[in-house]
């Protein structure tokens, strides 16, 4: 039986080392971002956010137009666009192309979209060898684990974990010095880059007026993935389209600063088509797989459509006090943190993990740092309403629904409210000068018990405000 959401949360909270790792890593990323976007560093920050939101809104609202423009330009540059309605179609395309080329070794740069569609599993099943080349993703691949965080995938691992994984899977001596571990990976992966038949990347942006795929990274593995093999396939969600190359002047200023606090990542590649006549190196074939996989369904909802504006910076994860406690692996899908909490129910259905939209205090820290101004708390509230409607349809949660119906009736009838409140106060222990650790049996309801599991309850005052007011 796979662990439930609550179980995974509990396990993560109980692991003191993991708590420290998550807290420290996210704290550092928050700090870096703060220094990169403060007025002295980026005076236009708020204006850029507004612009970015407006551009995304426009692109998404006219997505069909921009997809077609993108496709025309990719084609004009000698590339090919493939539309994949779901994970199977995307993987089928890669498999067919690999077969056509007699390809076996595939290098991959970091792409959440390819994890979303379980591409590696599918490729490996057909005797292809997909190798993750981003250091964090490579380690995870060897360890058969999912990423922990959108931008820092191996955030939960220590150098000792990495030493064990490398020793076990690569047959190298147990080495705990991080720089040496990195050099080991470098040496192994260098051979893969140079021998690979196909390179698969994601795309941070798809530029409609240029037919270009934009990939940002710090290591150089994406450049190698997209330059060394003869074939480059970029797989990206349809929502990644932006109208113009010039719009990158807005997005690139926000992405790295929001993600890691860098002004720009070390490498930003703007790739349009296979190598041109006269160019010396680069792929001979260039494909872009435009993945739907449920995105078109999200588009239909005007209020929640903004969930597709995400540029995957990870800032919402870093600032979320809930993520900082429960970590990335508690989430049911590949996308974690606040953005994961709003897109997972929309992609997989609200009843896949009905608790997910409720695993938030709605503090709004995410919305405050989102470079494209997605109103995450608003979408969470909408999803909560959808969960309750779905529960009603499925005949679940009857007791809670009834309780709230009763509650609403009482709250609309002031005299009933006063009587109910007085009755509740009379249940409280008589001698109650201090905060309470326990309650009498009559008050022992699940929400009260849940509250008391973590903190004390306030004593009931002898008189309510309105009673005091009347006696003034």
């Amino acid at each position: 039986m796979p662990a439930t959401f609550d179980q995974k949360i509990h396990e993560t909270l109980a692991d003191a080392n993991l708590q420290l790792a998550i807290y420290t890593a996210t704290g550092r990323l928050m700090d870096h971002r703060k220094h990169a976007v403060e007025p002295a560093a980026l005076p236009d920050y708020q204006e850029l956010r507004t612009n970015a939101h407006a551009i995304k809104q426009h692109a998404i609202d006219h997505l069909d137009h921009y997809l077609e423009q993108f496709e025309a330009n990719v084609t004009a540059h000698g590339g090919k666009v493939v539309y994949a309605k779901d994970a199977t179609e995307a993987a089928d395309f890669v498999l067919a192309l690999a077969k056509q080329h007699g390809a076996r070794l595939i290098v991959k740069s970091k792409s959440m979209t390819t994890e979303e569609i379980d591409l590696n599993e599918r490729l490996a099943h057909h005797d292809l060898e997909p190798v993750e080349t981003d250091l964090g993703e490579y380690i995870l691949q060897l360890a058969h684990q999912r990423p922990y965080h959108i931008v820092a995938p191996a955030l939960h691992m220590t150098r000792y974990d990495v030493a064990d994984i490398f020793a076990r899977r690569l047959g190298v001596p147990n080495e705990t010095v991080i720089e040496k571990q990195t050099m080991t990976a470098r040496a192994v992966l260098r051979q893969k880059f140079l021998a690979a038949d196909i390179g698969i990347s994601g795309a941070n942006f798809l530029v409609a007026d240029s037919g270009a795929v934009v990939v940002v990274e710090n290591e150089g593995n994406a450049r190698l993935t997209t330059s060394a093999p003869a074939v480059h396939i970029a797989i990206a969600g349809i929502e990644k389209v932006i109208p113009r190359a010039q719009d990158l002047a807005v997005f690139l200023k926000l992405l790295a600063r929001s993600a890691t606090g860098q002004a720009l990542t070390v490498y930003t590649s703007f790739l349009s088509g296979p190598r041109r006549a006269g160019e010396i190196d680069g792929p001979e074939e260039f494909y872009v797989v435009l993945l739907d996989n449920g995105r078109s369904r999200l588009l239909a909802d005007r209020e929640k459509r903004q969930s597709l504006y995400c540029i995957r910076c990870g800032a919402c994860l870093n600032h979320c006090p809930v993520y900082r406690k429960i970590g990335g692996h508690s989430f049911p899908w590949i996308y974690s943190g606040p953005i994961g909490a709003i897109i997972t129910p929309q992609f997989l259905g609200v009843m896949r993990e009905p608790g997910l939209p409720f695993a938030s205090s709605l503090c709004g820290a995410c919305a405050e740092v989102c470079p494209v101004k997605i109103d995450i708390p608003k979408v969470l509230l909408e999803l909560r309403a959808e969960v309750k409607k779905a529960e009603e349809r499925e005949g679940k949660g009857r007791v809670e629904r009834l309780a709230f119906k009763l509650w609403a009736w009482v709250m609309c009838h002031p005299r009933m409210y006063e009587m109910a409140a007085m009755a509740a106060r009379s249940l409280a222990p008589a001698d109650n000068s201090g905060w309470m650790r326990r309650v009498p049996a009559l008050m022992d309801l699940p929400p009260v018990r849940a509250w008391l599991s973590q903190r004390d309850l306030p004593p009931a005052p002898p008189r309510s405000f309105r009673e005091m007011w009347r006696k003034r």
């Binding site: 949360i9 509990h10 909270l13 006090p321 809930v322 406690k325 429960i326 608790g355 939209p357 409720f358 695993a359 205090s361 709605l362 503090c363 709004g364 820290a365 919305a367 405050e368 509230l381 909560r384 309403a385 959808e386 969960v387 309750k388 409607k389 809670e400 629904r401 709230f404 119906k405 509650w407 609403a408 009736w409 009482v410 709250m411 609309c412 002031p414 409140a421 509740a424 106060r425 201090g434 905060w435 650790r437 699940p446 929400p447 849940a450 509250w451 599991s453 973590q454 903190r455 004390d456 309850l457 306030p458 009931a460 005052p461 309510s464 405000f465 309105r466 009673e467 005091m468 007011w469």
Partner: protein, 241 residues
């Protein structure tokens, strides 16, 4: 002729922290306002809205609109309740044009307490005195939905005898979040404990905030941890003499 304000004390203050309501009234009267308490008030509907029960929240919101329809100013000792009324009532009534109109007419008249003092009453010194070392917790809704951050600190700065020590992570959520506190108690409790660590590091003896739900969460966790620290709503601090 003194101006009139209507108090919306909120259900949590009414039932659990009535002194906060009394303190709020006292400060407003000190500033020359005539304070009304429309007796039919109950709740803003946030618990139902927060939990996904929009029809139920709508019913309660309608009742609220009726009770406060004629009030010129409505003062609220809570950022989250003010946010519910000012930002979310419209969401509840999106198919009901009368409801939307009523919500829109009401919204500009509803003020969180500290904002009322500073922006309407124009007062940052209310003649308060409290010999105490305090720290201030930025309640999320007040902070992020209304930009309430400098305001309470300005008001506290004028309280004679008061020393304010800033905690690191003052703007981090205390972990209450309404139903979140009981649906995900372990996470909520963890967030409260992180907040308390921050509080303890200041050496302050009292935590001040503009929202009783935050104070209930923080005080409840401090009590459980056996810490001899107290909480006070901003209104209570300002009412002190």
């Amino acid at each position: 002729m003194p101006k009139r304000v209507a108090l919306f004390v909120t259900c949590i203050v009414d039932q659990l922290f009535p002194k906060v309501g009394m303190a709020m009234a006292e400060v407003l009267e000190r500033l020359g306002y005539q304070v009304d308490f429309p007796e039919d008030q109950t709740c803003c509907g946030q618990p139902a809205f927060n939990t996904g029960y929009r029809p139920e929240a709508r019913q309660v919101a309608r009742h609220f609109l009726k009770v406060f329809r004629d009030a010129e100013y409505i003062v609220v000792p809570s950022g989250s309740c003010t946010s519910m009324i000012v930002h979310h009532f419209e969401d509840l009534f999106h198919n009901d044009s009368d409801g939307v109109a009523a919500a829109r007419t009401l919204a500009p008249r509803v003020f969180e307490f500290s904002r009322f003092l500073l922006e309407v009453a124009g007062a940052d010194d209310v003649g308060a005195r409290l010999d105490e070392v305090v720290t201030y917790h930025d309640s999320c809704h007040a902070l992020r939905e209304f930009g309430i951050q400098d305001g309470p600190r300005r008001l506290l700065a004028h309280v004679r005898g008061l020393e304010l020590r800033e905690m690191d992570a003052a703007t981090e959520c205390c972990g209450f979040g309404g139903t979140f506190s009981v649906k995900f108690p372990e996470v909520s409790g963890g967030m409260a404990r992180t907040k308390i660590d921050s509080i303890v590091r200041t050496g302050a003896r009292t935590v001040v905030a503009v929202d009783c739900s935050c104070l209930m969460q923080i005080q409840g966790a401090m009590s459980r941890a056996g810490l001899p620290l107290a909480t006070m709503h901003l209104a209570e601090v300002l009412a002190s003499r």
